[in-house]
């Protein structure tokens, strides 16, 4: 039976997620999995930038996004949201940070609240894919340099062709008038 759950109305997560959850084999089963992810989410909220394996980072990212979205939507007067924050953030001062700092920071955001960067592998090692997961708008220097391709030769040529086209259209318009 493939039927949508209608009891709750949840805003869309703004990042790509896996269609199925990752199991992360754990001696304590699914509960242990959540405990493990909880650590990552707490670290992320606390430090705002963490380096970890891709699989774990990508999985924890969804939870962090949902938690922040809940905090923004319902605020700190909503009991289920408060319970959720209490569960996911193991350090209690971070609950305060979530509602008073992060919810305020991302209030008018239209994009995702977190960002996932590729990180170099550790040598020598097992060559698991490494990533850096960070909250947007953190106080650290940016990880990736912005390199604009606006002045690259093909873009210059295409832009000039576009300008030419506009000029031609305008001229045609004038002539028809």
């Amino acid at each position: 039976m493939n039927q949508a759950e209608i009891r709750k109305l949840i805003p869309a997560v703004r990042v790509a997620i896996n269609a199925k959850h990752r199991k992360f084999s754990n001696p304590k089963g699914p509960e242990g999995r959540l405990t493990m992810l909880r650590k990552t989410v707490t670290e992320l909220v606390k430090l705002e930038r963490v380096e970890l394996n891709y699989q774990r980072g990508d999985e924890a990212r969804g939870y962090a996004e949902r938690l922040i979205a809940m905090a923004i939507k319902h605020g700190d007067r909503h009991i289920p949201t408060m319970e959720m924050a209490n569960y996911w953030l193991t350090e209690k001062q971070l609950v305060h940070k979530l509602f008073k700092v992060l919810a305020v920071r991302y209030k008018d955001h239209t994009e995702s609240y977190t960002k996932l960067h590729k990180a170099p592998n550790i040598y020598p090692g097992f060559y698991r894919e490494r990533v850096v997961l960070e909250l947007k708008g953190n106080p650290f220097p940016p990880l990736e340099k912005k390199n604009s391709s606006h002045n690259w030769i093909h873009n210059i040529l295409l832009e000039e062709a576009h300008q030419d086209y506009i000029r031609k259209k305008l001229k045609e318009g004038e002539r028809s008038n």
Binding site: K146, N147, S148, S149, H150, N151, W152, I153, H154, I156, L157, L158, E160, A161, D164
Partner: protein, 356 residues
């Protein structure tokens, strides 16, 4: 193809013909050669026809001689310190004065720097990759994918013009003595690179196949991966090199007068094609990627019937879908508005490019 089988003969070497047509062509050429040989054997007083091949060889030989002469002037090797600033890390290189080039420095750094660098920046001055370093300096490399690759783009456009000149000089049959005239200052925004050339034909409307052949020649030149060899020579040597070109002989004294030393010009060589230009040029012809020669416009001047050959190109590694590239090609077909060599006797030197 059908319209090609008519009377019309292509002035180019490599045009695709219907098999029969090609066969006929060969026969005619064979006859022609025999006649020529007879003429040559007949008497020593017969004036030998001036061909581009011979002229090119002569210029290349002079270039080699001059390069050897200049190399011999350096008798003892002096060391200079080059402060490299950039990826993967800043470092100091000990190089040879007047011998080592920025390209040699890149060879010491890594392969990626060696292959992608188009120009060097030496003490803030744009420098050719194959121009020897003259003193202690700081060094940076420029490439096409920087956030503002102004100088690299300009050098690319200029080098494309020069490569077009090389192709024009070598692609025509020997009975046409092609004289290269000049090209306007490289302007990427104009949408096409240009070479003005005297083909010694009163009129020529190239067919699609002919244009494609020229483009193919450009690609071959790019695949040959020649370096842009740079040499600063005395005006007299340059005049000797370009004695067979009436346009260049007029331009060289003016260029020499404008140079810093007052009597030298810069010549570049790719393969065996030699061109006088102020530069700078990109590191090698292999930087040229997708290229097409799209149009030939006749230009009337008071001395000769010139043709403005136009093309558009992208550096190697820049992928553009065929539709977008088609838009660029279509735009490049318009007559380039760059400066025309109108009055040849008073033409400015061929490159208006600032020395940056």
């Amino acid at each position: 193809m059908a319209n090609l089988s008519g009377r019309r003969q292509s002035p180019l070497y490599h045009v695709i013909y219907i098999e029969r047509e090609r066969e006929r062509e060969r026969e005619r050429e064979r006859e022609h050669r025999i006649i020529l040989q007879e003429v040559q054997m007949k008497g020593p007083y017969h004036k030998k026809a001036l061909t581009n091949t011979a002229v090119k060889q002569k210029r290349s030989q002079l270039f080699t001689q001059e390069a050897q002469r200049q190399a011999a002037l350096i008798t003892d090797i002096e060391k200079i310190e080059v402060q490299y600033d950039g990826q993967p890390e800043n470092c100091t290189l000990i190089m040879n004065k007047g011998m080592s080039t920025p390209y040699n420095c890149a060879q010491h750094i890594n392969q990626m720097m060696m292959e992608r660098s188009v120009l060097a920046e030496v003490d803030g001055q744009v420098w050719d990759m194959h121009r020897p370093l003259e003193d202690n300096c700081t060094l940076r490399f420029l490439h096409f994918r920087q956030s503002d690759p102004y100088y690299a783009n300009k050098a690319f456009w200029r080098s494309a013009s020069v490569m077009l000149g090389a192709v024009l000089e070598s692609s025509f049959k020997d009975n046409l003595y092609v004289e290269l005239c000049s090209y306007p200052s490289p302007n990427v925004r104009s949408g096409s690179f240009v070479y003005d050339v005297d083909l010694k034909i009163p009129e020529w409307e190239p067919s699609k196949e002919e244009l494609r052949t020229l483009s193919g020649e450009m690609v071959k030149l790019s695949l040959a991966a020649h370096r842009f060899e740079r040499l600063e020579v005395d005006a007299s040597v340059a005049l000797k090199m370009f004695a067979d070109n009436r346009f260049k002989t007029q331009q060289i004294p003016q260029m020499a007068a404008q140079s810093t030393s007052g009597n030298t010009v810069v010549v570049y060589r790719i393969g065996d094609f030699v061109e006088v230009s102020r530069g700078p040029m990109m590191a090698g012809t292999s930087h040229l990627g997708k290229v097409s020669i799209v149009a030939v416009h006749p230009i009337e001047t008071n001395e000769a019937q010139l043709f403005r050959v136009q093309g558009v190109a992208l550096p190697r590694g820049f992928l553009l879908n065929h539709f977008a590239y088609g838009v660029l090609e279509k735009r490049a077909q318009q007559m380039n508005s760059g400066r025309l060599p109108l009055n040849i006797s008073s033409t400015e030197p061929q490159t208006q490019a600032s020395t940056l």
